[in-house]
Amino acid sequence: MSVINAMSHLLSNFEVMSILKKSQAEVRACKSLATLSYETLKHLVNSPASKQSEEVVLNFLQEMKNFPKPLTKAEKLQLLNLRPTNFAEIQVIIENMEERLSEAELEDLLQLVARTIPSLEEEESPPEATDLATVEN
């Protein structure tokens, strides 16, 4: 086995989750993948990724383009994966935040995240639970 490119792209939690959910046939054919896929989904179901969809991600990235200060790819990815809701949570994601963003811009960014990415608490819908059950079988 040889590695051609160890890190060709970054994937968001949502992308991994939807790929794993779509590959049920493959999962059934490989026992270790069934376990790993079950555990990974179990971890991701508790994260904001479980409430996201393709439109949510596209919409978020589109809105980020209009944001006055550019953020790095890694920062945008972590905003999507973690969905920070307050100052303490967002300052660990954005490097040198106090130098780069003014207080008003920070407030705007928090609102942008809250508006475009659905929160985990909103409407406890059961579809994840049924998906997990099928992985288990």
Partner: protein, 204 residues
């Protein structure tokens, strides 16, 4: 947290695996069986095959004398778990000891936070068996915040360590077998505002 890696490998597909499906379907299954849930050195934890790269169609199929299986060199992309340095991730406390805490992501358990990388000032409480952060100790008004097993925590990845665990040959000492090195270990930190138990920072 997850990345796409481009890899290549020679796969062996047994003849009975070829019935009723395309050769690439069989190759994909063989690759999954070989790599899923394994750590690739300096690459990360293999999750699953994503797709094949176009170069794969240029290599030949080989059948070796005395073996009915077909061998082919394939180029493919895979989903690999490999957080970048400085990435912030959420996980669950798996266990605690005076040295520090261990964090689990359900599918990956080898994440450690050393005691010195916990919020300052923290100390280990042997009686309760947990780490305690004395929040606001500098201002004189201190509150003890406990970290317990099962708590959801947020941490920053500060270092990654790959160890080559390939077999080195027979050893006479049988006890050594039980202490296999961890092939992929992440070192994490919680010593800045915003990191640590999620409940510490919510609703502020």
């Amino acid at each position: 947290m997850f990345v796409v890696s481009e890899l290549s490998d020679v796969v062996r597909v047994e003849p009975d695996k070829l019935t009723g499906k395309s050769i690439y379907e069989a190759l994909r299954q063989a690759l999954n069986n070989k790599f899923v849930n394994k750590v690739l050195l300096n690459c990360g934890l293999f999750i699953k095959v994503l797709d094949f790269l176009p170069q794969s169609s240029k290599t030949d199929f080989h059948i070796l004398p005395g073996d009915g299986a077909v061998h082919k060199k394939v180029y493919f992309r895979a989903i690999v778990f490999r957080p970048f340095i400085n990435e912030v991730i959420e996980g669950r406390v798996r266990s605690m000891s005076p040295e520090g805490i261990k964090i689990s992501l359900e599918f990956f358990d080898d994440i450690i936070v050393q005691g010195t990388r916990l919020p300052h000032p923290s100390h280990w409480d042997g009686a309760k068996g947990c780490w305690i952060w004395e929040y606001g100790a500098d201002s004189g008004e201190s509150h003890n915040l406990l970290l317990e097993v099962g708590d959801r925590v947020r941490f920053r990845v500060v270092d990654e360590k790959f160890t080559d665990c390939s077999p080195v040959g027979p050893t006479l000492d049988t006890n050594q077998q039980q202490n296999l090195p961890v092939s992929y270990m992440l070192e994490a930190a919680m010593n800045e505002p915003g990191l640590g138990a999620i409940t510490w920072w919510s609703n502020t």
